[in-house]
Subunit: 401 residues, 2 copies
Amino acid sequence: MKFGGTSVADPEKIQRAADRALTARRRGLAVVVVVSAPGEMTDELLALARRIDSRANGRELDQLMSTGEQVGISLFALACQSKGAAASSLTGAQAGIEVSGKPGDSRIARIRPGRVLKELRKGRIVTVAGFQGINPQGDVATLGRGGSDLTAVALAAALKCARCEIFTDVKGVYTADPRVVSEARKLSSISFEEMLELAGAGAQVMQPRSLELGQRHRVAIHVRSAFHPSPGTWILPRDKGAAEKPRVCALALDRGQARLSVHDMPDRPNSAAQLLSRLSEKGIPVDLIAQSPSPKRGLAELSLTLPKGFASQARQALASACRSLKASLELREHVAKVSVVGNGLRRHPTASARMFETLARHNIDIEMIAASDLRLSCVVDSRCAESAMRALHKAYGLAKA
Amino acid sequence: MKFGGTSVADPEKIQRAADRALTARRRGLAVVVVVSAPGEMTDELLALARRIDSRANGRELDQLMSTGEQVGISLFALACQSKGAAASSLTGAQAGIEVSGKPGDSRIARIRPGRVLKELRKGRIVTVAGFQGINPQGDVATLGRGGSDLTAVALAAALKCARCEIFTDVKGVYTADPRVVSEARKLSSISFEEMLELAGAGAQVMQPRSLELGQRHRVAIHVRSAFHPSPGTWILPRDKGAAEKPRVCALALDRGQARLSVHDMPDRPNSAAQLLSRLSEKGIPVDLIAQSPSPKRGLAELSLTLPKGFASQARQALASACRSLKASLELREHVAKVSVVGNGLRRHPTASARMFETLARHNIDIEMIAASDLRLSCVVDSRCAESAMRALHKAYGLAKA
């Protein structure tokens, strides 16, 4: 089980979370609980550090940040004990979570679960600090964003658990963001592949690193609410038979991207490569890429999307290359990416045709299209994004199971 | 160097404390800084735990409480780094502080300072978490009250340091509490023996455990203010020659004790032992003990003092034993213990005579007397305590160096 920061934000919420662990323990299950830092603690610690040094980072910041989860695990274990269950808390180091890489963004290198197993054998509920491990220098290091999910899935894999429950502040994975599409429906299950595509398309339920790990080790992940008893969504390895049958399972909306277009680029094989290498040199991430011939002979149009925060840096990086190609550069920040995720979309053109028809019927201009086997994305004007989502949700019949 | 919680209560105070460490480092000294939990953090963590379980204790509480010092060391190291000095923070476990005993009240068993020395050799300022260590089970355990002082002195001894500086919220050791005696003077030095007696008499500058450790390993301790640059008080091994010369060095006032008197106790050798064993069975600590024959033949008077918090428990523990001895029991809570501390007091009766004369001249009734080589204590009515302190301070000429 993994409980995020909002699920353990105060002593009362910790008590409720502990009840979940105790219920599972009473059913005869061995229970390991990965706990995040309670509530705003991580942000508060970061603010303290920033007051001392606005650029604080590195080993010392990790030593500081890791205390939030340590507070979480000990309070959680105390809550279990107060309800009559034996419980032990383990820091990342005590739980044998060995990491490598740079402070603040380490990777789990291996897990030696000896101590966890020893505590489980004593019949105890074991609480483990998420987001942290110990590096080869014997220092505490943190895992970066979504780190507690990663700890939970990696630990489940190391302990050969069949499942990992992620308790969070949403009830599961929906066919679309319920704040945008009121008829959105909670999915009872979704494949790792689809979930990865949804995450890539902007759904913020789980970080891709945790999903990839679960997929690789075949750990079924149950995303569910910490505050409601109803089941959530199971993320499962793909059913071999089902893979052949096309289905659209969910929509995603990403408002965090900007579109950068290069007009009148010479239509030569290396033009796009030349431009894209300028971006990768600067470490600027690119999401969608689409190229098409220009109506003008011998020229082409290249469009790409990237996180808004990198937009002006990207424009700068491309400026001189565009000048030497005699191409012009256009940046559009008021765009949104609308995506349809599901199995076999590329192999079944009717599914993609429905997307374009629906948007056209609603007079929504498609600025850019990109497709993969599991995803169809259209970039549209941000003012049309929500109506596009609602229209597509209806057109694909997603409100009905 | 050791900085207590009030000395690192906020980022600005941490910056100032870091300046002290940097100044020493620039003078070419190798600097190890033991840091407490900032400000009220320990109390806040305890309050969180109590909201989950009002009787919270044991291993999990230690895991929780130890995070306060971990926050202190990382913020302190970040402050050093922001000022351009290399610095590394080490938890108790990383610093090789091995402890034994029960959670919440462990003892330092040994220190393996390898990692500390390694960091020092790299020219770094090393910050070490006070109040904590690692026990044979690999668990974090805390040292109980005054634990950070203990960490500092033990680490100084393990590193064979000649001195240990304790930065605190007082300017040093005074001839009397300046809030009571306005002419009280800061001592430039005091012996470990005298300091231990002062601590036993109620002065709250340092815990006896740390003093005993410093005395045993001949680590000179400098108690000084974290907020003022002036030197404080050195606590030093006793100068052999000076031991022969009597001197009164300071007064102490303890308002935290109650007096329990047994009247008309049979004057037999085992009477007192019988009563005192009832108290030790219950773990009730006793401070002063005085017995004297009663004016009534064959009977005696026994008086003792103990912390007020134990008073009613002690009365209960003695009730039946007193009944069987046909003795009566009297409890007085409004008393105070006034002590004179110095070298060779017992061997020089003029020093003790001056105490009794002074109190008599001021019409202050002495309810009980106890003496050791280094201390003379009188129990008086608590309403007379402050005037007794002022009179004695003048009579012993303590305002002049």
